[in-house]
Symmetry: C2
Subunit: 361 residues, 2 copies
């Protein structure tokens, strides 16, 4: 299904790197080959299982707020986390203006490393992988909180996340119909074409109001960096589950505050969500429930059929950690790994200088 | 002098990654080819120039304390910094017990990225590069603070940093003789062999006391993670410059506290050095001078010929940033760059899903 690249040629005078020097690398092409080889919906289900397993052992993790470097046009973030065996981090940028210049708004890569000796175990693209882990997390939480028997999802925003969300909710929650609205009809048309190839019934809707009609689940994934009101209070009826993806940094929200006041609110990691999520609109002590506690049976999920539930999703480092574990477990057997000469490994660890000297021949 | 690797083969069905998808990569082999091609001492001088240039514009940088993940056996750190144009970070581990298991105590890699769009500009090995930037920083500070006409340096510790320090002090400060002591005679012998090949006079010394005899500069670069006393007060005479490299994390120091009380102390970034450096032994308000202020003429360097000066070096993110800039400027022209398919770059940035689908053929 894919390729394994031979090690790069070396100058004739340089000794070959030792086995310890190689870091497994999953390129974009190999990530796509891995996902397509496994099958997208199977991959989404497997990722949801990895994320659920890690959320269930939440107290085992070293949790650090992401380290953000803000500039006029965007942000570059490092998102590290670790358990007793493994350390992972993701590099991710967010530059809304990139779209107009023909660049991706978000690109990402990540590393999994051994806590015991600090050596990287995996370097991988994470732009595609993040799209999958975000959708898998949404659908995992949807399975936990959405009303029983939900079959229709509204989707406001038809950007890069749209189709991943739709297929994750089919694979994991049994959604049969998606009602899509985007302010750009071309974006909606793109999503409809893509979903048609996967046999999912998708309906183009002229407004957000139209899209939420009859939907038990409402997903918002719009991209503008501003306080927007994608959903107003009158659009959300009793019992609906809201999956709010787009509001994920300070000053960027999608829901009218009145919806938040009516909803049971579920979050990944409160210290981060209170800054980045929809709940930045609320008092800093407004009650929220942590997803991991619901998964462990330590907190209540949906209270009753009439409750409005809201997953105020901003993305958390543990989801990336789970995704890195999944790639590490799956990519080698699938032949989707190259190897990079990224670690200096002299014969005598104290003789880094001698290694450099010998390379000169 | 080296090689440029062709892009990896792709499945026949997948479209070729676009130009934006490629991230320049400098492997260990290519880093060694770059340094050996330029010449080690020239490379050290160029690095010192880059570091000096960045220290002189210190206020332009976004300075963040490193993000450390500590475990029983060591630490994994991310060291980010940025100016208005570029963002850089280094991944580095420190695992003292690795040596016995045949692994490097410290390995590192790093990334330089564009602040404007968040795209990585360079991924590079940094184990070898860090050895050079540490030595270049030490010698740059030595040129600033050491007594005029210094020709002899004592070196306590003959580990991985030893030869880089010795040659940097020759290239940048005019040192002619190095007097080396290590508790392991085999380590000293290794250093003598390596330095002999580079024509630097090196003398094996039976004790630290012996090594400092007649030396105007004393470099300590030992590796044990403990509060050690490599230098005692009686060993340091008037006018000596101490370059203390090995004490670089909480609980790891090399100098007796009495030396610190007699010395003018110079540091990179006080908030970090007070936690990690020799001055963790002192009161949190003990006076220190920042190197960048001396370089800009905003603070006094060596006061007089009799003053003991101490560079309490722990390594700071801006030095890595300078080193990343140097590699970025130098590696491509030298043919020492491969390219990695690390960024997903769909034709339509909103259609990441379509790119994945098309890769399936």
């Amino acid at each position: 299904m894919t390729h394994s690249v031979p090690p790069p040629p070396r100058p004739a005078t340089a000794p070959a790197p030792s086995e310890l020097a190689w870091v497994p690398f999953v390129s974009v092409q190999n990530m796509m080959a891995l996902i397509n080889g496994i099958g997208l919906e199977t991959a989404l289900r497997e990722l949801a299982d990895y994320i659920e397993a890690d959320f269930r052992r939440w107290p085992d993790f070293d949790k650090t707020p992401r380290v953000a470097s803000h500039s006029r046009d965007g942000v570059i973030e490092l998102m590290p986390t670790a358990d007793a065996e493994s350390y992972g981090f993701k590099y991710v940028n967010g530059h809304p203006a990139n779209l107009k210049a023909g660049f991706q708004t978000v690109t990402a890569f990540g590393v999994l490393a051994s806590v015991a000796n600090g050596y990287p175990l995996l370097l991988t693209e994470m732009t595609v992988l993040t799209a999958l882990r975000t959708a898998a997390t949404s659908a995992l939480v949807g399975r936990l909180l959405a009303p029983k028997g939900a079959r229709t999802m509204a989707m406001i925003g038809a950007g890069a996340q749209c189709e991943f969300q739709a297929l994750a909710f089919r694979a994991i929650c049994g959604i049969e119909t998606v009602r899509i609205h985007d302010i750009d009809p071309a974006a909606t048309a793109k999503a409809l074409r893509n979903l048609a190839r996967h046999g999912l019934e998708a309906v183009a809707c002229g407004s957000a109001q139209d899209a939420v009609e009859g939907a038990e689940i409402v997903t918002t994934c719009t991209a503008d960096k501003q306080n927007a009101t994608i959903l107003t209070d009158n659009m959300i009826g009793a019992g609906v589950h809201i999956n709010a993806i787009g509001g994920d940094c300070p000053g960027k929200t999608e829901l009218h505050r009145d919806i938040l006041l009516r909803a049971g609110i579920f979050v990944e990691y409160p210290p981060q969500t209170r800054i980045e999520g929809e709940i930045q609109q609320l008092a800093p002590d407004h009650e929220v429930t942590e997803i991991w506690q619901v998964l462990r049976g330590e907190a209540e999920g949906r209270r009753d059929a009439a409750q409005i539930t809201l997953f105020d999703s901003v993305g958390f480092a543990i989801e990336d950690f789970s995704a890195l574990r999944w790639v590490h477990d799956r990519a080698r057997a699938a032949g989707c790994v190259e190897r990079l000469d990224m670690l200096a490994d002299p014969d005598d660890p104290r003789d880094l200088f001698g290694m450099l000297d010998r390379a000169a021949g």
